[in-house]
Symmetry: C2
Subunit: 334 residues, 2 copies
């Protein structure tokens, strides 16, 4: 809890919050991150509704789902948006809006990227987001190179960074910054990061990224009701792409809300009404079954810097709502 | 969206988040702010449960309710905790814990403070929190003087500050800093403030307060899911008392969660389990009827810097959930 000096503040917090940065992009990850709560079984109607809301809302990128290996994951167990076949996307997105670029996430070592990701000129997809854990950096760099060579925009989303020791993070960021990747994301997988930690990490990310002309993105989770605040911090520090999801739909506590982002960013191209309408008509009706959004078990996994898996499982038991029992359980598993 | 320079950050965001500040106090306002959602009709059982959780949780202050005039407000329409008679408090709080100080809020011009607030030595209450709008500063200062002379700790909670022009705010803060008040609160009544605005305002509050040795407090609302983040910002900037409520219970979108505060503050005196248990057993069961907590209409009043009243009313109609209609309605009332 460092105290900011008054002299530093005067310079830093001058009133500049009515402007907008035209270079700042919004990526809507509603279906990709939300798909983690329903095995990616979204109806065509919902996928189309989210796309149309992105289009009408002026959103820059829409992430449809994963590009998972169908050798590793069964088509019986998972819906189409785990695999994002070109034909499935084209079937649902009938009226294309070229201003909304499509993105998919490709998990390192869980994607047959050589075969399943076709050259960009044959694809409806514009951006491949490569997700990797710290031990997968070389494999992730191979995937970055492959996607880059095929003509895609690329991001690297280094997951679970809150568990990565500083020297390894520095080494990873240096390797990634030297790769052909376009954007390096700070990903708060566990929703564990407080503002000071976000700023500390972003300072590190910028240090490596800027030396190689890379951009910085922010993907936040709302375990501690800090997703929007942490995303604002990333914007203030110079991030140029930020993730939101409609109604906050995403794994566990969910993500920063797209509707909050649009209301905060004063770029006139962004329109909030189509997003509010999509949330009301298509997203909120899913909440009862999908059980995403702030809840104390998710808060506690965030506080304790754990994967939300245990909280998601607990919330599906009859003990849901017994917070002390959950807290005791996860403390005991140490 | 000012960009913080790297050189400034290195100094400011050094890793200091594992320590704690022994001077930092937590005030639980569950019943006072939450009472705005049920006309202060809490059962004795719930008041006792919140008190016992404060006691077991190591919380420094518990705000019980208002000290409202019973000439202005009917005992038929409002529950006991609108008035906080000494006898009512003593009836419910059977086992006193001297380490939990009791506070009440006294609204300027809505409190018969000369008669209804007895000398401190006859009272179970330790702190009078005087709430005032900008046009009531002289009347508020009379109340501060009265409470101070009677022996109470005092705070001034200047409401709706997001609507106050800068010159008036500076004048008010200077007058309040010169008064005998102990603590000046930044109150984000409408949940409208972003981090940069919080920092800008707190810089101003500290400027006036520090010249007269006053402390600074923070009371946040969660309309934009920024209550906890803004409270953290206030802590980083040097606030010495912060408000939380259990389960976030409070008007409209509610407040910063007490359980989040306790998990963030690393003072070993704070215990989270008793608070989690109280939230599970006594607070969450109220949610269905009281309808507090994040919801898009509250978010929109925050974004538009409006009193949450219109959103609270809207959420009690059959149109609840039709966010676009609500947005259009409040834009039309400009």
């Amino acid at each position: 809890m460092a105290k900011i000096l008054e002299t530093e503040m005067a310079e830093t917090f001058a009133g500049k919050w009515l402007t907008f940065r035209p270079d700042l992009k919004v990526l809507d990850c509603t279906l990709r991150d939300g798909g983690l709560m329903n095995n990616h079984r979204f109806s065509d109607e919902i996928v189309a509704a989210v796309y149309n809301a992105c289009s009408a809302g002026g959103i820059d990128y829409m992430e449809v789902g994963y590009k998972a290996s169908n050798r590793l994951y069964s088509l019986d167990e998972f819906g189409s948006w785990k695999f994002c076949a070109e034909d499935d996307i084209r079937r649902v997105i009938v009226e294309r809006d070229a201003s909304v670029k499509l993105a998919v996430m490709a998990d390192t070592e869980r994607t047959d990227y050589q075969t399943d990701i076709c050259p960009k000129e044959q694809s409806i997809i514009s951006m491949i987001r490569i997700a990797a854990y710290i031990h997968q950096i070389p494999a992730a760099i191979d995937m970055i190179q492959d996607a880059h060579d095929k003509g895609y925009e690329t991001t690297i989303n280094l997951m679970a960074v809150s568990t990565v020791p500083d020297p390894e993070l520095d080494e990873a960021l240096e390797l990634l910054a030297k790769s052909p990747v376009d954007i390096i994301y700070l990903v708060d997988s566990f929703g564990s990061l407080y503002s000071e930690q976000v700023r500390y990490l972003l300072q590190k990310y910028f240090h490596h990224a800027q030396a190689y002309g890379k951009k910085i993105g922010m993907h936040a989770h709302n375990n501690q009701e800090l997703a929007f605040a942490n995303t604002i911090d990333a914007i203030i520090m110079g991030a140029t792409i930020v993730d939101g999801s409609m109604g906050g739909l995403g794994r566990g506590a969910g993500n920063c809300r797209t509707e909050s982002l649009l209301s905060f960013l004063h770029n006139p191209k962004y329109k909030i009404r189509p997003v509010l309408q999509c949330v009301a008509e298509h997203i909120e009706p899913l909440r009862h079954d999908l059980l995403w959004g702030f809840d104390i078990p998710y808060m506690l996994t965030g506080v304790l810097n754990r994967h939300p898996r245990v909280a998601i499982e607990y919330n599906q038991t009859a003990d849901r709502g017994n917070y002390v029992k959950f807290f005791n359980q996860i403390i005991e598993t140490d």
